[in-house]
Symmetry: C3
Subunit: 159 residues, 3 copies
Amino acid sequence: MDQKKTTNIILFSGDYDKAMAAYIIANGAAAYDHEVTIFHTFWGLNALRKNNPPTVKKNFLEKAFAKMMPRGADKMSLSNMNMAGMGPKMIKKVMKKHNAMTMPQLIEMAQEQEINLVACTMTMDLLGLQKEELLEDVTYAGVVAYLADAEDGNVNLFI
Amino acid sequence: MDQKKTTNIILFSGDYDKAMAAYIIANGAAAYDHEVTIFHTFWGLNALRKNNPPTVKKNFLEKAFAKMMPRGADKMSLSNMNMAGMGPKMIKKVMKKHNAMTMPQLIEMAQEQEINLVACTMTMDLLGLQKEELLEDVTYAGVVAYLADAEDGNVNLFI
Amino acid sequence: MDQKKTTNIILFSGDYDKAMAAYIIANGAAAYDHEVTIFHTFWGLNALRKNNPPTVKKNFLEKAFAKMMPRGADKMSLSNMNMAGMGPKMIKKVMKKHNAMTMPQLIEMAQEQEINLVACTMTMDLLGLQKEELLEDVTYAGVVAYLADAEDGNVNLFI
């Protein structure tokens, strides 16, 4: 009856602009009194990486992935007009001018609004990412947990 | 009881083929008697740009964005096999051969079917786009208006 | 009353990783007792192409598309870090190491779980793909059939 509405976002993409869209919708939904979950899978996991993670054991392939993927939300590139890195700088410049929130700020706001930030354990395994390398207060789960949330969800998006 | 079903599409992408998919689903849903909204955000806003917009005041960064982004749906490129612009030409050629509708035609049909075409005001601000530069009969709104529609929506998609 | 919950995925993308995500969610949902449909449209149709299709009549443009598009799920490239084809090899290597399922295996599992694999007839027309070129046990339908499923769906995603 009085159940809260829910928004469940799968963040698959590792693009700065798509992650921004995901977090803007998520923060909007939380402010709109939805229960909100962002399920980070594949490249979307990069949004949750720490800037300066502790050293962890990795095999050769895992090291290669760790090196090639952006370390944290602030280092992601754009899905469009990336232009060898110039695009993100331009976007960040206009964002600053308009007092728009950056990715790190949007993530902080999401944590303050108690949005459930989930890291997909299957992808972590695959890419060799370990819990120590991700932000604090992240939940760890798989696709079944996502489905349990989403099957009664109001707004389900794949980004 | 007799409430109409609704379809709410977020068009984030500025790719010709993705915009086509969004408008084909939207037009199908409207013909299927759904109430339909397309919320254009980020690069998806380019689908709503006029071909020959009036001159408006822009600062340096806004001019740069305006110049680099495709002006109107017909100038967008493909998400796949763009091949320096050859892809869209091939697609348009087969579309013509099969009497498939082009983007400008799909947008016109959407307007005739009273699909609600919304431009995301936050992105307009960010990219320095002004109302005069967008098609007529566009609605202006933000993420909260989207959520109000989508939370009771039947088909919610992020494209 | 006791109706089964449903998951309806539009697979638009022809990227290996996105197709993997679609099939992992779909297989998870089927195991979770959902009725599941994957509607393959645009580049997503490539996931359903046979490795060694019989020869069919094609005009010049259709031959060009057939040649340029990956023939079957195993030949798709990544949305990210494709690196001239090195990316898929790395992903497949880690997948093998972790006993993760490859695309052909995920598709086989989907068929065993009676997931409804639909090929979008409009796109087939446009790209000149014929039924003989696609896997067995594929259903053929258009956007209206998708909407009929999705309007009462629980989890609707566009991938």
